[in-house]
């Protein structure tokens, strides 16, 4: 699991330093999260950068942001969802899963097991709601449960429910294969 981003930013650090530190540590995660939401690479990169600049604007304006990382993910998510509504395209994330499965087709035994896992993963990604997928991806990135709740603007118990269903979906598919 990816370790959570360190929050040991000096209180005296300027907003620019804080944002730059977070940008360096978290931009890849935000970008990947947006891909998982279904954005294409160019838009995901644009939204990611935009979210960090917005964080800077908010901090400079004196906004009290308790957890800048969750804040950036939330802003990116909102912008990303808006884009998806306008674009309405298939996710490159799904394409990456399919490519990976295809690449493992003629591989040794260990990889065949992983291929089965991936097929379960692919199936789960198709059948889960966007929020459930988002929960799994964010948890996979190492965000804490309360941070995920903050990103999705839901209760922590709802995050737990989304995760439970996501995990269950993956397990069910793998059990069907046996």
């Amino acid at each position: 699991m990816v370790p959570p981003v360190s929050d040991d930013l000096s209180p005296k650090a300027t907003a620019q330093q804080r944002v730059a530190a977070l940008y360096s540590a978290a931009r890849d995660g935000v970008y990947r999260y947006l891909l998982a939401l279904g954005l294409d690479a160019a838009r995901a990169q644009e939204v990611t950068q935009d979210a960090f600049l917005r964080l800077y604007v908010a901090l400079r304006d004196g906004a009290a942001i308790e957890d800048p990382k969750a804040w950036v993910y939330r802003v990116a998510r909102n912008a990303g969802v808006d884009s998806l509504e306008r674009i309405g395209r298939e996710s490159p994330y799904s394409a990456a899963i399919a490519d990976t499965i295809a690449s493992l087709a003629k591989s040794p035994e260990q990889e065949l097991i992983e291929k089965e896992w991936l097929e379960g993963f692919q199936d789960a990604m198709r059948s889960l709601s966007p929020q459930q997928r988002a929960c799994l991806e964010l948890r996979g990135q190492g965000l804490q449960y309360w941070q995920i709740a903050e990103v999705l603007q839901v209760r922590t118990s709802t995050v737990g429910e989304f995760l439970r269903r996501g995990i269950k979906q993956m397990k069910r598919w793998n059990e069907c294969q046996k």
Binding site: A20, F52, V57, F121, R155, E161, R164, K168, N174
Partner: protein
């Protein structure tokens, strides 16, 4: 230091196998957030997590890479700083290639321009916004229309009136009112008209506020026909969205952008203000907004409070999809019954085969404080959703009966929210003296978004304090402060919706 109580293996397993009561889930997740030992235990108990992680790793090399090198954030932030003085307008020429940063920069620069002005310089912010809005104002089509609402009637009119435009008699009366106030009635929803009117006001106070991608300039005039005028701009392109003019407490005019007419626009016959805005004769079925409201009312009638995770999604084709996540079979049937009569609504059960597991035996939480703070967060979520889905312009389009229902739902939950907050304060005070005192209370109109943020913050603090049995820590005064802020916001909001 209190000894940490780790959850049992059975309980950790149950977290991902069964539907536990919400309060228990909150408790466990709060513990997992702070206990690496138990987090490791979960990985061992539930191998699907490790499998999921492995899948993520496997696909990572095949995910598309960012098409451009990541930008230099420091340089971009400095550009934003410089842009505070010279704000480029958003927009670009057709056919030009836009670097990935440019969209971000344009947006951030604009946000920066709006938000960065020093506090206390509202006049400067208002003048700058109006200046930019005037230079950015797009050419409007002849079919652009405005919806005009007064306490007595509502009608549609062309956005820009020409001499040849015929008017209904009621419009003549309003035009005379605006003329007396030296406000240009021929193009009232424009930055130019607003700026020209402001320039004629000798004594005025102004506020500029930002909310949900919109900036509102509110000018209170000391003398003149218009006592108060607000202009709301879309922050993305600074186009005017709506305006409100108050001549006296009982005499006001609201103007908002309306969908363009597909045919030549003529002012429509006036109707009482309580009636819905005049619609084409063929449009007799409820609007999407009205059906969405009916759907939300049906969910509300379940008496589930706002606590049950039930998604309401409006599809682009106007279909409404309701997804209940934790309703038992009985209550889901009740929901379906409540939804009868609402057209084009689908109840989606993504995992219908799991119904036998639904409906936890008891929703009673592990601690009354956690229960109360959960209830608060849920209600704040609901009020925030209502505000988001039914902003004033949408609300104005609802039928009188629907507007009444919406108001009653808001009032009911706003009052209940105040009660929940009092309950939480009482429960907390039983454990330890709690000083409800906020050093800094928010200015301006309370909004559900601020309420939600505060409610979520309180919920998290309470859950952490109680889940970890660490209520003696320094977090306690912070909780008192946030709870005071929440109580203040809830009271203000409750007053507002009951007005």
């Amino acid at each position: 230091m209190p000894e940490i109580e780790h959850p049992t293996e059975e309980l950790l397993l149950a977290l991902f196998e069964e539907q536990l009561p919400a309060a228990e889930v909150e408790h466990l997740l709060a513990h997992l957030d702070s206990c690496q030992i138990c987090e490791q235990r979960v990985s061992l108990i539930e191998p699907a997590f490790a499998r999921y992680q492995r899948c993520r790793e496997l696909i990572a090399p095949r995910l598309p890479k960012p098409p451009q090198p990541w930008g230099d954030i420091v340089a971009e932030m400095q550009k934003v700083e410089r842009a505070r003085r010279t704000v480029p307008m958003p927009g670009r020429k057709r056919g030009t290639v836009r670097p990935a940063w440019m969209g971000a920069l344009a947006a951030a620069v604009l946000v920066g321009a709006i938000l960065f002005w020093p506090h206390g310089s509202s006049e400067l912010r208002a003048d700058t916004l109006l200046l930019k809005a005037r230079s950015a104002s797009p050419r409007r089509s002849p079919n652009s229309r405005l919806r005009v609402r007064t306490p007595r009637f509502t009608f549609l009119r062309p956005a820009v009136l020409s001499d040849a435009t015929s008017e209904v008699p009621e419009m003549d009366a309003i035009r005379a009112q605006f003329a007396a106030a030296h406000y240009d009635w021929s193009d009232p929803l424009s930055a130019g008209a607003y700026a020209n009117w402001r320039a004629k006001i000798a004594h005025r106070t102004v506020e500029v506020s930002e909310d949900r991608g919109q900036s509102t300039i509110r000018t209170v005039a000391d003398g003149g026909g218009i006592a108060e005028a607000s202009l709301t701009l879309d922050a993305s392109d600074l186009s005017p969205v709506s305006a409100r003019f108050v001549f006296s407490p009982q005499d006001w005019v609201e103007i908002a952008k309306a969908p363009d007419a597909s045919v030549e626009v003529r002012p429509l016959a006036s109707a009482p203000a309580d009636a819905p805005v005049t619609q084409p004769a063929s449009s007799v079925e409820p609007s999407v907004a009205e059906r969405e409201l009916m759907t939300r009312l049906a969910i509300d009638r379940l008496g589930a409070g706002a606590g049950e995770p039930i998604d309401v999604d409006v599809e682009p084709d106007g279909r409404i999809v309701v997804t209940p996540y934790r309703l038992g079979e009985l209550r889901e049937s009740q929901l379906r019954a409540n939804l009868q009569g609402v057209e084009r609504v689908t109840v989606r059960s993504p995992e219908a085969s799991e119904r036998q597991e639904e409906a936890p035996a008891s929703l009673a939480g592990a601690d009354p404080a956690i229960d109360a703070s959960n209830a608060i967060a849920s209600r704040a979520h609901l009020l925030s959703q209502l505000a988001e889905r039914f902003p004033p312009v949408t609300e104005a389009e609802l039928s009188p009966a629907a507007r009444k229902d919406l108001r009653e739902m808001r009032v009911r939950h706003a009052r209940a929210l105040e009660g929940d907050i009092d309950t939480l304060a009482r429960v907390l005070a039983q454990n330890r003296p709690l000083r409800l005192s906020a050093s800094e209370l928010p200015d301006g109109d309370p909004v559900p978004k601020a309420l939600l943020e505060s409610a979520v913050a309180v919920n998290r603090m309470v859950t952490s304090l109680y889940a970890e049995k660490a209520g003696e820590g320094s977090a306690w005064p912070r909780l008192g402060e946030e709870l005071a802020r929440l109580r203040y916001l809830a009271h203000q909001y409750s007053q507002e919706v009951q007005r």
